[in-house]
Amino acid sequence: MEEQTLIRLCQAGDPNAFETLLANYEKIIYNLAFKYFGNHHDASDVGQEAMVRIYQKIKDFNGNSSFKTWLYRVVVNLCMDELRRRKNQSHSLDELKEQGFEPATAYDSPEEAAELSEKSAMIQEILQMLPDEQRTILILKDIEGLEYTEIAYVLGCNMGTVKSRLSRAREAFRKKLATQPRFNILAEGRVQV
């Protein structure tokens, strides 16, 4: 069935059509959440929440963007909300730490931890250090490879803002990268100007 037909069925409230349609995007949605949170536990929780949100909101999709870009918009907003919500709770973290708790790396198994190569783990680590806004723009542009116009739609801002945010984010990323001793090793073999 064509995507547009499926979308129309979803908008009429057909859950089977929704499952068929979103099965094509589940990996993208999961990976987007994974880039934000850096672990499977959160990617699964936020990803599931995103699916429910998409189900509730699909009626609002009006074809002004591609469906995929619209999905990015919903998922990115959800991830940003979640990050903000967590930030508001941060005053309790010290208390937890006093009790011996540490933020979970949340790899469910050694196999999962090993799934991320050293390189990915390092990128993920640096992304987690960046402000949410910068992390978002790097995920959308440099990792996911969206176009400037698509990013402007996802973030609800103009192209100028996208570009200036991107250059700030890239600079911040490079600064963090430069402090990683591992980067020099990883960079070897790459330099081929």
Partner: protein
Amino acid sequence: MKCSTVYKYLTTEWEPSVALDEEVQNHLAGCSLCRAEQTQIEGAFTLLSSMPQVEPTAEFRAGWRNRVREEAAKATVVPEKRLKWNSWLKPAYSLAFLFIAVVAVIGYQNSVHAPKNEALHMAEKGPAVSQEQTMVLRSAAVDVTDTADTALYELKLVEVGPRSRDVQRIIRNFRSSHEEGIVFSHKAKNEEWTLFRDLSFEDAERLRKELEGLGARVEVKPLTR
């Protein structure tokens, strides 16, 4: 061409897939500083763009489908068919968790000036220790603005009772309606905690009553910190 112009071009316009502007190329040929900058920019970009995709977990694949079906059922007033321990259980634990789970909810209530909904809550889940039909729920409140005034209590679900699926559903709904938050692990204790917001003592009490209404056996006792 000035170094600053080249830098701006490299950081805003250029991407490794884009051929370099000829003027910039000429500048780079004679300026080692900008060349070093370009190499670094390219390195960072290559790293980001080559980041591999991860495979979604089975928990996610099954979980979102279940949740969407539940949403659909809500809308059509058809009774819920599939009830699963999904989002709050890690796949490795889920089988065992059908028999036993440890959940703790900890929160604090602020006095006077802080709004009531600033209560923070944590839920704990740990791995199964036996196959008994037992589940422990602990609920506690901590006033972090005045630690001298700390109050903690434990809500323990001793027996799931005959309607374990409904009990599971109630607990899952409880967690989702109170927005499951950050996950913390305590390696020494082999426990995991999740932080919640907007949870009051009344909410925890309501949970107790709901569980008892399903025939579960619940014990509540105060704890000291």
